[in-house]
Symmetry: C2
Subunit: 229 residues, 2 copies
């Protein structure tokens, strides 16, 4: 059985990626990072959900990105609501995050003798992150095949799969639902409360809610009750 390394955050997109990789016949090795996320609930959820996804292994790598800073997700910067963005690229952008995550996935793939890496990046509803675009994935693939022993010995062997890249959030949700995903076992919110309930207002929640609405489906995760507005 072919092995694939799938970048897995416990979120909607990466969970859909796990299901897609499985549907293509891969044995899935899910890779998460403890990188100093301000809200550790994301990682807790990933640890809780992963064993329910029928995968071969879930590895959580420790890598402290707070030492670098520069992002609302790792440094002490407020996470804004989706409508308060005034820059093309939001403050939740983490410098070079996908380069670091994919490089680590490449290292693990090489050790596992896998040549397939899945990443749930999306260039449609993508919030302006530069490292979610097809041209980035293509440049990374080229680099990967020059960077590694396996890439050199079997020229061009590595493929970075980004099956969601041209899909809308609604299409992703439809595809995942068709593959039997229970989206209650996913977490997207940048700013959950102490009970882990989604805020419904951050960039990530708004994209998610719009996606479920457009797909004509109900989001099964729990949201914080709204105070009178």
């Amino acid at each position: 059985m072919k092995k694939a390394v799938v970048l897995y955050s416990g979120g909607l997109d990466s969970t859909t990626c796990v299901a897609i990789a499985k549907s293509q016949g891969y044995q899935v090795y899910a890779l998460s990072f403890s990188y100093g996320q301000r809200h550790s609930v994301e990682l807790e959820k990933a640890r809780e959900f992963a064993p329910k996804l029928g995968i071969a292994q879930h590895l959580v790598v420790n890598m402290d990105m707070r030492q670098i800073g520069g992002s609302a997700l790792t440094a002490d910067i407020d996470v804004p609501g989706a409508d308060s963005e005034d820059s093309h690229i939001p403050v939740t952008y983490v410098p070079a995050r996908n380069s670091i995550f994919l490089s680590y996935a490449l290292a693990w793939a090489e050790v596992l003798q896998s040549f397939d890496i899945f990443i749930g990046v999306n260039a449609v509803d993508y919030s302006g992150y530069p490292d979610c675009r097809p041209e980035f994935i293509e440049a990374f693939t080229r680099m990967a095949n020059l960077a590694t022993k396996a890439g050199v010995e079997q020229q061009g062997a590595y493929t970075i799969h980004s099956p969601l890249i041209h899909m809308s959030k609604a299409e992703i949700i439809c595809a995942g639902t068709g593959l039997g995903i229970n989206y209650a076992l996913t977490h997207s919110c940048y700013d959950p409360d102490s009970q882990g309930r989604a805020c419904g207002r951050c960039d990530s929640c708004v994209l998610r809610l719009k996606g479920f609405y457009a797909a004509g489906l109900e989001d099964p995760v729990e949201y914080q009750p709204r105070t009178g507005e």
Copy 2:
């Protein structure tokens, strides 16, 4: 003053890189990794030497590569002598290491608003590591300029400097000596003894000793006494 991030291991090549970056007018931000090296003396030496190099900051990032394994430098595989290699790429190769290190350097550079990264890779005496070749550096640079907010906003702004890439070890030592480096403040050995003395037999020691010999200079670091052979 322009800032540069320099990948710094405490070794001969990366220390020479620090000196070259300084000689080109950069303020140096040295980046080291605690990645689960089997011999922590390398990192101890880097911490000890860095403050003596006249740099702006030394950052040591924690990132456990032992979780991935696959290399004699991080897993429980014997480090061979230089003459026992039977593969083109040695067991001391760490999967995707330079991709991971450069991605991290890219993240820090973006936060520092620096567009220059120095790495002391070398393709002449290079031991067969695929991620030490010019084609890898070129592919990484292209990726870096697509991966980042700063790269997108200022197209092609990032430069990965690899000033040693076409130099022999002897030429590197001559260049560094000319820039005033005290090579006693560097450490290369993969297999030092409990007192931190170099073994004189591993791949890295043999390259270093040959370099000093070819440069007509004496290596000032301390080696383990040889037992009768």
